[in-house]
């Protein structure tokens, strides 16, 4: 099969995943253009996280094709290769390196060569330090730079993980519920941050916070039972009776 | 005539083994059933010569003296100190001679069991002199299975005689129907013979061997199941303390050992206080071993392990220390040597299904292992405690917040795993040494089984144990015991590459990283 056209960054077609007979993804098709930001919403259990799992190599799809950046077949690659291609991810449950300091967490995530040899002999340069300082500023954890990540509060871990995602400088950011556990003000700040990033990169955001999604102001895809239920602007989908029925509620 | 017999009997005390053997043959040749008691006693090593007059008696030790019984009349004759008599020594050769002699003498016995044994003895010895006797016995025999045995015995005797080739070929046919190893041992030497006898023997041998090969495969399965059940028993407690609780329990083997020593103590008490209970000793030991090992387990959990939850690797260090202490404690209390644990009579010996030989102790252990397994399974799946136990081991803090008394559940769980190990010790005391090292010999196998089967999954432990048992027993005949074991280990290593979380891996997003 030849790869899809070049404008497309991420291309999912007919992807299905099932667990013990339960279909988490059902013939899901989705296209993300280069430089696009996309919001994905959908009921709990719709398969949003599973979709990210499939893209990042954590879960192998039972059927379907996934192409990245033209014609790289992601279903054949492992997690590390996919990450190296430039796909970064923030997990729904913040996952950071508990025994590393905030600083080291960011350092590990910094873009750069990942080989063992390079890691053994490379020294941290001043440009790297500057970049980390900059990130610490963005995620407002400057004061906690030397704290072990294990001791951060839930929300602080969320921020740290966002920082790590930024540090990776990926082409495509998959962001799973970045605003969960944040105050309204922080949620706003997160939305601004993502919009800023989306100027250069492609971003896929999963969120349940409608205010946040609205603030992003981008095309919204609604997933339900493993496939796309509705797609369009936030206003369009908010009025879709099926979306109201299964997701927004009355 | 009695006087002649008496002389023959006294002759048993003259000379060495060869002379005694001749004398036994002479006694047998009398054909007089009156000599049976003395021959039986001789086989048991109960026949003595009085030093003063070289008269031979059956002697029984009563207290510190011996009571002498006249071998012919059965009357008590004398009571003497041990210094006044000489034992008439028997060795294996003499025992064989006695068996043959008794065979001929007891063929007509009214007791069916004795006749069966007599026929069996003649079959074993193949004594051609017995042919006439057997012919007579076959005439009279009512019991068809004994008659068959007698015909086989006769055939065996015929093969050793100088009768005609036709007779021998006919005898070979009879023996061929018997199958089994002892038939082979009769027939194989004949395959060398020229002529029709050799041909018939060769044919019979290959027929029997073909049949044996089939049974051998079945026998191997049985051995595998049996080894598997031992592995299962050894591992099942660990499946709780390690598999469910996550404690790397290096003292598991010592819990097994404690169970075995409990059995020993129970038997000692029974031996000195209530010998008639001996056959039930294991039934008394099983609950006691559960309680003793369980109590030790609870003490270990309360004293040490509970400070280590959330640090499972440290439990390795602590339980290793505990295991050293327990080993040495047992060594100090009971001494370093093996202790004798007896086998109840109902667990001794074996029976046959076709050519499949099944030993009672192994059968008992398989049954016991399965009972323990399914009881435990039911306990964990069907009782509130089982649920609480699983909750606590999955998330101790949340379980506590749900109102589960985690300290109690932890102690009971560890106690349960230890108690089960203790019960395993009762069973293992029946097939292995009861020594302070007992636990060490099972600990590695136990971990292999639990991990191979998949940590946290009891079914995995069950299937893992039997798989490894059977694999081992199928490899052993070809590779030998040592290489067989190595191959099983290599198999485990390779298998884990294929299934990095064991045979019955727990799946689901909670587990998969």
């Amino acid at each position: 099969m030849s790869g899809p056209e070049t404008e497309t960054l991420l291309y999912l077609d007919g992807v299905s995943v099932s667990f013990d007979g339960f279909k988490a993804l059902n013939e899901l098709s989705l296209i993300i253009q280069a430089g696009e930001m996309r919001a994905i919403i959908g009921p709990n259990g719709a398969g949003k996280t599973t979709m990210m799992d499939v893209v990042t190599g954590k879960t192998r799809p039972d059927t379907g094709t996934i192409y990245f950046d033209g014609n790289v077949d992601l279903t054949k690659l492992d997690e590390a290769s996919i990450a190296e291609l430039g796909i970064g991810r923030k997990f729904q449950k913040p996952t950071v390196f508990q025994h590393h300091t905030v600083w080291d967490n960011l350092e590990l995530a910094l873009a750069g060569r990942r080989g063992t040899f390079a890691a053994l002999f490379r020294r941290e340069g001043s440009s790297e330090r500057e970049r980390i300082e900059e990130l610490l500023g963005i995620i407002r954890l400057g004061e906690l730079r030397d704290m072990e990540a294990a001791n951060l509060s839930h929300g602080q871990k969320q921020w740290l993980e966002i920082g790590m995602l930024l540090a990776q400088e990926p082409k495509l950011l998959l962001v799973d519920e970045p605003a969960a556990g944040m105050t309204d003000a922080e949620t706003e700040a997160t939305a601004d941050l993502l919009k800023e990033i989306a100027k250069e990169k492609s971003v896929v955001v999963v969120e349940h916070d409608m205010t946040f999604v609205r603030a992003l102001g981008v095309k919204v895809t609604v997933l339900h039972e493993g496939s796309v239920l509705s797609e369009g602007t936030i206003d369009h989908v908010s009025e879709d009776p099926r979306v109201i029925e299964v997701y927004l509620g009355r | 005539q009695d006087a002649d017999l008496r002389d023959l009997i006294n002759g048993l005390a003259v000379g060495g083994y060869s002379e005694t053997e001749e004398q036994i043959a002479a006694l047998a040749a009398t054909g007089d059933p009156a000599v049976v008691p003395v021959l039986e006693a001789l086989a048991e090593g109960d026949v003595y010569a009085r030093k003063s007059d070289r008269m031979v008696f059956i002697a029984e030790k009563v207290g510190s003296t011996y009571t002498l019984t006249d071998p012919l009349t059965g009357e008590t004759v004398d009571e003497v100190a041990s210094g006044a008599i000489d034992k008439i020594k028997v060795n294996n050769r003499l025992r064989r001679a006695i068996r043959t002699a008794l065979g001929a003498l007891t063929l007509m016995s009214p007791d069916a069991g004795t006749r069966r044994a007599a026929a069996e003895a003649i079959f074993q010895s193949g004594d051609p002199d017995a042919i006439e006797l057997i012919d007579a016995a076959i005439e009279q025999e009512q019991n068809p299975s004994i008659a068959k045995l007698m015909r086989e015995a006769r055939a065996a005797a015929v093969l050793n005689s100088d009768l005609s080739d036709e007779e021998k070929v006919a005898a070979i046919e009879v023996i061929k129907t018997r199958s089994g190893r002892d038939s082979l041992s009769l027939l194989i030497p004949l395959t060398e013979v020229e002529g029709p006898v050799g041909a018939a023997a060769t044919a019979a041998v290959s027929a029997i061997e073909g049949e044996l090969a089939m049974w051998d495969a079945a026998q191997n399965v049985w051995y595998g199941l049996s080894l598997g059940s031992v592995l299962l028993l050894a591992a099942i407690g660990l499946a709780i303390t390690f598999g469910v609780m996550g404690v790397i329990n290096m003292a598991h083997g010592e819990m097994v050992m404690i169970g075995a020593y409990t059995t020993f103590v129970v038997q000692e008490i029974i031996r000195s206080n209530a010998p008639w209970l001996f056959d039930s000793s294991l039934f008394i030991a099983i609950p006691l071993a559960f309680l003793v090992a369980g109590a030790v387990g609870v003490a270990i959990e309360r004293g040490v392990i509970r400070f280590l939850y959330g640090r499972p690797l440290e439990t390795l260090l602590a339980t290793w220390g505990i295991s050293l202490i327990l080993q040495q404690a047992v060594r100090t209390i009971f001494g370093p040597t093996n202790q004798q644990v007896g086998t109840p009579s109902w667990m001794s010996g074996s029976f046959e299904i076709g050519l499949l030989q099944i030993t009672y102790n192994r059968l008992a252990i398989i049954v016991f292992a399965l009972i323990v397994f399914f009881l435990l399974m039911a306990f964990l799946k069907r009782t509130p405690f089982g649920l609480q136990m699983r909750a606590v081991t999955q998330n101790r803090q949340m379980a506590s917040a749900m109102g589960i008394r985690t300290p109690w559940v932890d102690a009971m769980t560890f106690g349960l795993g230890s108690g089960i190990a203790g019960m395993a010790g009762v069973a293992l005391s029946q097939i292995d040494n009861v020594s302070p090292n007992l636990g060490q010999s099972y600990i590695i196998d136990s971990f292999m089984v639990v991990v191979f089967g998949g940590v946290g999954n009891l079914w995995g432990t069950l299937v893992g144990a039997f798989t490894l048992g059977i694999a081992n027993k199928f490899l052993e005949p070809y590779a030998g015991a040592v290489l067989g074991k190595i191959l099983v280990l290599v198999f485990i290593i390779l298998f884990i590459q294929k299934r990095p979380r064991g045979l019955f891996a727990l799946r689901g997003r909670a587990i998969e990283a």
């Binding site: 990042t56 492992d78 997690e79 590390a80 997990f91 729904q92 449950k93 996952t95 390196f97 508990q98 025994h99 590393h100 080291d104 590990l108 990942r114 080989g115 063992t116 390079a118 890691a119 002999f121 941290e124 790590m164 | 996550g246 400070f307 280590l308 939850y309 959330g310 690797l313 440290e314 439990t315 390795l316 260090l317 602590a318 290793w320 220390g321 050293l324 080993q327 040495q328 404690a329 999955q394 998330n395 101790r396 060490q440 590695i444 971990f447 991990v451 040592v482 290489l483 190595i486 280990l489 290599v490 485990i492 290593i493 884990i496 990095p500 064991g502 997003r509 909670a510 587990i511 990283a513």
Partner: protein, 396 residues
């Protein structure tokens, strides 16, 4: 590049440890050889190989501490690498015996002669050469580790599964080496060595030199380990330890990182074995016993696995205790003392001896305060990449 690599690791504590080891390498032999027994500084001759043995155990423990403490790989089979290094050295030493064996066979070691071997097995070729033997000291364990690790890490065998198959590996090797017909001397192993590089192996000077070599090897290994853990590489392996799968999502090839430390650690263990053998005078399959490997892990835990000096100190303390307890009237009860030591350390020095000394009292207090927090093993994170894995690491 190498220079900066080393400079990375060479901080004050490293300087101190290396200073102590290097000083020991020179001072101890000098005190043993050039003082009279009357002198208060005299070190008796028999103590030298004993201390040398402790140091080689220290090196072995360091190799385990590196992979366990920093990469979360709990090897219950490191004794296998140690033993292989030991056998490589032992084979060299056997070949040096030449015609001085009891049968006077110039080529075949004694045990081959009386079991009627006609010629030297292929595996023994080349071992008469010291450089070749030294190469094998590193290669034999290195290659085994590489093959084992290549498969295991690629298959993502982790946690206890990995631990148990390492145990299966050493157990299988033990059974194999027990077999006489494998050609390594069966259960008696290799003994009765005469000389090494032409020097009498029993001469005090040779002993002193072996001691010094052990101390220097340990110092060098320590420096290398220290540099590794101070580098980016070190941070990556710690990240792997704490959240293996998360590390993958950052683009690191976890299996390669693991393989590098694993093989390196195995080679270190092999070198330890090679230094051990001439000092104790025997190598036999007992070294492959799973219990031995477990003991090494115990040393590491006793010393403290979060630090590099921890394993070294642990190995020395436990083995010194073992030497000390096994003598005298209490000898029959020494297991109580040793067992008690292990239990005591876990309960009262949860970070091991060095961890506790190093962390000082603040650490201890902090522990107390957050004891409740640590009691929980969190297994519910389902959405993270390492979601729900039974965390084998303390939440501290």
């Amino acid at each position: 590049m190498i220079g900066s690599f080393i400079r990375n690791g060479f901080d004050r504590s490293a300087f101190f440890v290396i200073l102590v080891l290097v000083a020991a390498a020179f001072v101890v032999p000098a005190l043993a050889l050039y003082t009279t027994p009357a002198s208060p500084f005299h070190i008796p001759g028999y103590a030298i190989p004993l201390m040398g043995k402790y140091l080689t155990y220290g090196l072995l423990a360091l190799s385990v501490g590196l992979i366990w403490g920093y990469c979360g790989i709990l090897s219950l089979g490191h004794g296998a690498f140690f033993a292989l290094g030991g056998y490589a050295m032992g084979m060299y030493l056997m070949r040096q015996i030449g015609t001085r064996g009891v049968y006077g066979d110039p080529v075949l070691p004694d045990f081959m002669v009386f079991l009627n071997w006609d010629e030297l097995p292929v595996a023994w070729y080349g071992f008469q050469s010291f450089p070749y033997a030294m190469l094998m000291v590193v290669l034999a364990p290195g290659i085994l580790a590489f093959v084992f690790g290549w498969f295991a890490f690629r298959s993502r065998v982790t946690g206890v599964y990995l631990s148990i198959i390492t145990q299966a590996m050493t157990f299988a090797l033990m059974l194999g080496f027990f077999r006489n017909n494998l050609g390594f001397g069966g259960n008696n192993g290799l003994t009765d060595f005469k000389d090494i590089l032409g020097f009498n192996i029993q001469a005090p000077e040779t002993r002193a030199a072996l001691f010094a070599a052990s101390a220097l090897a340990l110092a060098l290994a320590y420096l290398i380990c220290k540099s590794i853990i101070s580098s980016r590489f070190g941070k990556v392996i710690v990240a792997i330890r704490d959240a293996e799968s998360r590390t993958r999502f950052l683009g690191y090839r976890v299996e390669n990182y693991k393989l590098v430390v694993w093989v390196l650690s195995a080679c270190m263990a092999g070198i330890a074995g090679a230094l051990y053998v001439p000092q104790v005078g025997i190598i036999n399959p007992g070294e492959f016993e799973p219990a031995n490997s477990i003991e090494v892990v115990i040393w590491v835990a006793v010393g403290g696995r979060g630090l590099l000096v921890g394993p070294i100190v642990g190995a020395i303390v436990v083995n010194f205790a073992k030497s000390w307890f096994t003598t005298g009237a209490l000898a029959p009860y020494w297991l109580f003392a040793l067992g008690g030591l292990f239990v005591g350390v876990t309960l009262f020095l949860p970070k091991g001896i060095m961890g506790t000394l190093g962390g000082g009292w603040t650490a201890l207090k902090q522990r107390r305060a957050s004891a409740a927090a640590e009691a929980g093993v969190s297994v519910t994170d389902t959405d993270g990449p390492d979601g729900g894995r039974l965390k084998t690491e303390p939440a501290e």
